[in-house]
Symmetry: C5
Subunit: 88 residues, 5 copies
């Protein structure tokens, strides 16, 4: 999983059927060479500015209980605090 | 999913059987270290210059309803507007 | 999928059983930060210097009809022309 | 798998159901262009500062025996020593 | 698949059960922005300094005949020679 920060929401009326009703957020991830933004489903209703864990691929679909959906990223945890870890 | 912009189309007469009839577009994705171009199936008929969400891997095949196809990228949503998110 | 150019062939006598008989080519992919080379199966017999679409992961195995093979990249289309897309 | 070093722990009370009870650690991975941090499940109870092997995707879920979980990274080995390999 | 060079071995007594008995090597891969090291299973017994093809994800598990193992990288071929391809 990747550590990131919820940085916004995405509105998309026209979407694949399996994305219907899914809240979509942008998650900013610090990388060695700058910052990367991923759009993820947000089943835990993480709020703007919250530190979260992002899962990719099949893990994201498992988080939603939608193994056959067109989803490849989801927020799978909200970080309480981060002990003795580098800020990233 | 990744935020990108439809930047062109791809013509390819010779293609894997499971790609038959699929419209292919180039999607430009801003990254920390420049821009990356991905070729994706376009089941939502997103137009040139439209902001879209791109899904990779099995998610792309699920978007097309073709789980056994030779596809690893698809446009899965067209973005209406992007609220309080970094431009990327 | 990624846009690339067939840049060579790879000879490998000792290989996993499921790669037996597969033609292997190097495909050069332009990235924001230089060029990357991927070795791919070439079921469409794309020639040296041809522009191709490369699929990764399970998509590559589906292109070959070998879902349980040790393959993670395959040429899935030969590009005719690329309309209004950035050269990449 | 990637070589990394356990650099911290992650506390997350709110998490996907399938992550329940999983110890989460940050693993720092040296890359050509800096350092990357991945959050991984830690079924082997690797300690802070230990060199480990990290697996991604389905391999991580297999390590946990949880093929349908929202996990995409796990520590799958603790390195004893690393013979004649570049430090990375 | 990626072209790489076997650069060392990895000793790890404590490992996931499905990695039991697997020889692990480090494979160095040249990238546009430096060098990357991946740890891979070595079912073909490639030797130190040999040029190899590395497969990632499910392809690696297929190479081992262990679809449910905690493996995400394996050497799947030993390169004889590389014809008209860029050194990478």
């Amino acid at each position: 999983m990747m550590l990131g920060t919820v940085s916004g929401t995405v509105a998309a009326t026209i979407r694949s059927g399996s994305l219907s009703g899914q809240a979509l957020v942008t998650v900013s991830i610090a990388t060695g060479s700058g910052e990367r933004t991923v759009v993820a489903c947000n089943p835990l209703s993480a709020g703007l500015g919250e530190r979260v864990l992002l899962a990719r691929g099949a893990a994201a679909r498992h988080a939603l209980g939608l193994p056959d959906s067109a989803v490849d990223a989801a927020v799978v945890a909200i970080v309480d605090e981060k002990a003795s870890a580098p800020k990233s």
